[in-house]
Each structure stands twice: as C-alpha cells, then as structure tokens.
C-alpha cells in the first residue's frame, strides 16, 4: 500500500466524490435521525452486512477472477471467531475482536486458497465448496466452537464500544455502517494500488501477468486472504449486529450463492457493485411479497414467496449475464452519463 502512485493533481472534486460525500452525510446524519427500527433492522443492517460480504467476494471473484462458492464458510469463520474471542477474552473490545476475527477468516482464506496455486476455474470452485462443507461440519461437530451449545446456536455478545452501548437497532446500524465504511475505504485503496492492478492482470491474462513480473502465487493467496478477511468481518456483523445470534444454518450454501449473486447482479470487479447488488437482494423479497399480496391476496404464503423469489432471482442472474455482464454498476454508469450529456 505504501507504493501507491502519486495522487492525481488536485482539481475540483468530481461528481463521484460529491455523491459519496452526500451518501455519507445521508447515512450518518439524516438516516439515524429519521429511520424507524424496522428500517434499521430489516433493511439497512442486513443490507450493509451483505454488501460487505459482496465486497469481499468481489475482491476475489471480480478483481482476481477466482470463483469461490465458499463465502458463507468465511462468514461463519468470522462470526464464530468473533464470538469465541469475545467469550474467551473478555478484555477485548469490539473493534479489536472484529479485527482479529477478520484475521482468523483470512487465515482460513489462505488455506482455502492453497489449491488455487494448482487449480483454476471449476476445479477451484469445487475446492471452495469443500471448505463450505467442512466448516458446516466442524461447526456442528466441534463443541468448543459454539461453546458446547448442542444446536450450535449461540447468542451474540452485546455491542459495546468505549463504554457506549450500541444494542438498539440504531446503534447496531451505526456500528455496521462504520465498519463497512472503513473496510470499503481500505478495499478501495487496495484495488487502486499496484497490488489491485496485479489482481486484475491475473484475471485478464495470467501468463501475461507472470511475464511482466507479477508474482502470481503470492498475489492469488493475497486475494484469498484479503477477500476472506472482509467476508469474515461481514459474517461477524451479520451475526452480531443483524441476527444477534450465531447459528450454523445461517451460513449454508444458499448464503454462499446469495453473496455470489449479489456480486454478479451488482457488477463484477466494481466496489459499487456489491452495494447495488446487496440492495437489490434485500429489497427483492420485500417487493415480491408486497406484489404477491396485492395480486393474489391471501393465497400468497411464505412458501410460495420463497419459490417465486428463487425463480425471479435465477432468471435475473441469467438475464444479467446475457444482457449486462457488468451488472447494475454499468447500468448506473450509463444512466449517469446520459444524464450528464443531457445536462451539458
């Protein structure tokens, strides 16, 4: 990170910077004052946690081009690591245990990344599946991880930072928002650094990358570690701030697919994509249930909703891959450019 290229000469803040500033003002200043518990608990907190997980996966799949189907496993590692850290080392403050949990997840990522040195494509995807199943098994079988809770379900510790309690919906939203903002900034620095460009070089042409001196093996492992660090912290937030329990079932293969879908729909290889995709994934079921209730009345039960959601989600994935492989982020870009042209 210290070898960053010299910053571009100072100029007027671009539209992007202004937009980001406005978003932060909105998220920190206006939303906490006006939002209801429902908005915090059912919309914003899960949105932020999923966006962070998507961001992490995007580092690996979008930037480095390494497909992983084990995101939920890394989330689980992060969540259970944070749980154990705060349980067994009571002196640890929340930020520290989150950070350490991220490092534990990064370690798991390194292990999962080892096959990437020999395998590519489907074979690598299958090896991340192995991790997914192994973690699910370990959570259920090794009592120590869940403090000998028979079902593996444990209650998350209270969110306290510097003596202040963040246990109410608004507080949990603010904690999540802060962590996500910080990590997004770090991820942005990473992808704009030479290392980030190395990731893209490996994705686009590994042989060429090797030829120009990219240390492929090291960079791939770094991608795995960085990605699972972020996903692990996302998992801890998902469990601590959103669900407030840690349970193995929440981190199954469907969750891994969900994170992958977020990245595909939002846009592979963009940081914004994870947020757009996560927003979409969180809002979609709510929209569908409203729509279903309006169209069908009482005949629309939760089972039907789940199936309709599956169909719509699957169809969307296919449609996005065919029509807009760069995802919602590209759509937004185009819309923005069109508006800009009109304004000019």
């Amino acid at each position: 990170m210290d070898a960053l290229p010299r910053a571009a000469p100072r100029r007027r803040p671009s539209a992007g910077t202004l937009g980001l500033g406005a978003l932060l003002v909105l998220a920190y200043g206006i939303v906490p004052l006006t939002g209801t518990s429902y908005v915090f608990e059912a919309l914003l907190t899960p949105f932020l946690a999923l966006a962070l997980a998507g961001l992490g996966l995007n580092l690996l799949t979008g930037y480095a081009g390494l497909l992983s189907l084990g995101s939920a496993a890394f989330m689980a590692v992060g969540a259970y690591a944070a749980f154990n850290l705060s349980l067994r080392l009571p002196g640890l403050t929340l930020p520290v245990s989150l950070l350490l949990a991220g490092f534990v997840a990064a370690l798991a990522g390194l292990v999962a990344g080892l096959p990437a040195l020999r395998l590519r494509g489907f074979y690598l995807a299958v090896s991340t599946l192995a991790l997914q199943f192994f973690v699910a098994w370990a959570l259920n079988r090794i009592g120590w991880i869940s403090n000998d809770s028979p079902s593996g379900v444990v209650t998350a510790p209270r969110l306290v930072v510097a003596g202040l309690s963040f246990d109410d919906p608004r507080g949990r939203y603010l904690v999540t928002l802060t962590v996500v903002t910080l990590l997004t900034f770090v991820a942005w620095r990473l992808v704009t650094s030479p290392t980030g460009r190395n990731l893209v070089a490996i994705r686009d042409n590994e042989t060429a990358a090797r030829l120009v001196g990219v240390r492929v093996a090291r960079t791939k492992l770094l991608a795995f570690a960085a990605s699972s660090f972020v996903i692990g912290i996302a998992g801890a937030l998902w469990a601590f701030a959103y669900l407030r329990t840690v349970e193995p079932a929440g981190f199954n293969l469907d969750r891994s697919f969900q994170i992958l879908f977020i990245v595909i729909i939002g846009g592979l290889g963009t940081l914004r994509g994870a947020f757009l995709g996560a927003g979409f994934i969180v809002v979609l079921p709510l929209l569908l249930s409203r729509l279903g209730a309006a169209l069908l009345g009482d005949g629309f039960d939760s089972g039907t909703l789940e199936m309709v959601q599956r169909v719509v989600l699957g169809a969307l994935i296919v449609a996005v891959l065919i029509r807009e492989p760069a995802g919602l982020a590209a759509l937004l870009d185009r819309a923005g450019r069109r508006l800009g042209r009109r304004a000019a």
């Binding site: 081009g65 497909l67 096959p115 020999r118 395998l119 590519r120 494509g121 489907f122 074979y123 995807a125 299958v126 090896s127 599946l129 192995a130 199943f133 192994f134 699910a136 098994w137 259920n140 079988r141 090794i142 293969l253 697919f257 992958l260 595909i264 089972g303 039907t304 199936m307 309709v308 959601q309 599956r310 169909v311 989600l313 699957g314 169809a315 969307l316 994935i317 296919v318 891959l321 065919i322 492989p325």
Partner: protein, 297 residues
C-alpha cells in the same frame, strides 16, 4: 469369514453401489461438458424436476407409461429451452460465466418445479423390492443392484452411442474441436440441443432412482453436490471416468464413515469426498480419465 472382514466387504459393496448412484448424476454433467464445455449446475435441479413431475403425474392418476412419456416430454422441452434461451446467447463466454448462468437456471427450475407441484415430500415406488439378498455372506440391497444395473446399462448405451452412431460421432467432433466441427458443416446448435435432450433423459433416470431412494423432495436437487467430487476425480469429460470415480467416491465415503467416523466424529461424508478428490487432483491434475489439462495448472 471373520466378522471384521465381512463388515469391511459389506461397507465396500454398499459404498460401491451408492457410488453408482452418484455416477448416474455425474454422467448428465459429462454429456453437456463434453460437447459444450459447460459445467451444468442445473443438472441436480433437472433431476428434481423429472422426479417431481413423474411422481405428481402418477399421483394424479396418470398410468405409469403415460406419466413417463409426459415427464420425458417435459424434460425435452426444458432441455431445449435452457439451451435456446440461456446458453446460445452466451456462446463464446468464459466457462465461469456459463457456469454461473447454469446456477441461475438451477434456481429457476427448482423454484418453478416446486411452484408447479408443491413442496411436500412424495414417496416414489418403482415396484422394486428393497429387501437385502445374501451374496456369499454379504447382504446387498436388491434396489441398489437394480440401480447399478441401470447405471451400467446407461453408460454402455451412451458409450455405444458415442462410438457407433453418426450423431455420436458428431458429438465427439464437437467435443474435440468446435471450430473444426463447424467448418465441416456440423450444425452446432442442433447438436447442443440434442445433448441437452440427452442430459434431460439422464436426469429422468437419475431422478427416478434417487427419488425412490430418498423420497421426492427439494433435497433431491442437492445430489449435484454429490456428483461434483465424482466429476473432479473422473475428469469432466469422460463417461467411463464418471462411473469409475463414482465407485471410488462411494467406497471412500462409506469406508471413512465407518472407520474414520468414530475417530474424528460422524457425518463426515459431506466433505470427505471433496477432500479425497482434491487430494487426488493435486497429484494428478487431469483426473482419472480427463483428456485435457485445461483450466488446471
């Protein structure tokens, strides 16, 4: 025969027979991968759809042959639709994109199948006796033997088809070199359609056997997860490899469950096959029978 040895043989035989069931699903993957380079994650969903459609039709009073014909027709339509609507527009995209598209297809098929036929668990009785028979002191399930016979027959038929028919020859040509095949006047879209129909039929056979074994329900589509280590081990493009790898995976799973399970905890069959397959892959990256070493080192 000592009881230990008898147990060992019984475990191995049981494992081999369940491995045949894995191979049955894996063959569906191989067909599509061989000819179009697509790892079709939706194969499991197709297995579910076939079994669910067949069961639901018979439960609604359709005679078995008619239900079978209708299910077959449905599978053909689905196969054609997927090829037409999803894969043809994505032609020449990287394999990972195609894979993710089939993931989407799997979601659509799973959701639609259960929307159409409901989510309850159905029993499926193929009329095959499941009492174990005694083969020289080893108890073997009659149903498993039947399933193994069906899988063997199907693999033989497919191999013969690939080897001796003109369409099979065309399949092999496309698998070998799509551009050259196109150049000799083979119509790729038509061949891909045929392959998807064939995969639909394989899914139907697998769906009936797996459905009879596990009951017809959503988890049937998860057999895809059992087939993946088989594919990794056998190579994505070999029917024979799928069978052999299926046997190995089945035996490994059962052996480790019985002998390793007590040591490190039960329930390891969810991941042991993956670990075994990956370990093997690190040593021999093209799998047992895989032809090309693409996408690996």
């Amino acid at each position: 025969m000592s009881p230990d040895l008898a147990l060992l043989i019984e475990v191995v035989v049981g494992g081999l027979l369940s491995g045949v069931m894995y191979a049955l699903v894996a063959i569906g993957f191989v067909l599509i991968y061989k000819t179009s380079g697509v790892l079709n994650f939706a194969q499991g969903a197709m297995v579910l759809l076939a079994a669910l459609t067949f069961v639901s039709l018979t439960e609604r009073g359709l005679p078995v042959p008619a239900a079978l014909a209708a299910t077959l027709a449905a599978m053909v339509v689905v196969g054609l639709a997927v090829e037409r609507a999803v894969l043809r527009p994505l032609v020449n995209q990287p394999p990972i994109t195609l894979f993710m598209a089939t993931l989407g297809v799997a979601y659509v098929i799973e959701g639609a199948a259960q929307l159409a036929w409901g989510t309850q668990v159905h029993g499926l009785d193929l009329g095959i006796d499941d009492t174990p028979i005694d083969l020289g002191g080893v108890l073997v399930s009659r149903f498993d033997l039947f399933a193994a016979a069906v899988a063997g027959l199907m693999a033989a038929l497919l191999s013969a088809f690939f080897r001796y028919t003109r369409t099979g020859l065309a399949f092999r040509a496309v698998a070998d070199d799509p551009l050259a095949a196109l150049n000799t006047g083979l119509r790729l879209p038509r061949i891909w359609s045929a392959v998807w129909i064939a995969a639909g039929i394989v899914a139907l056979v697998a769906g009936l056997l797996w459905g009879a074994r596990l009951g017809v329900q959503f988890s049937l589509s998860l057999v895809v997860l059992k087939a993946l280590p088989v594919l990794v081990l056998g190579g994505f493009d070999s029917v024979a490899g799928a069978i052999v790898a299926g046997l190995i995976v089945g035996a490994t799973e059962k052996l480790s469950e019985v002998y390793l399970g007590p040591v490190i905890g039960g329930g390891i069959e969810g991941w042991i096959a993956y670990v075994a397959a990956l370990g093997f892959l690190l040593v021999r990256p093209s799998g047992l029978f895989g032809l090309r070493a693409v996408e690996r080192v």
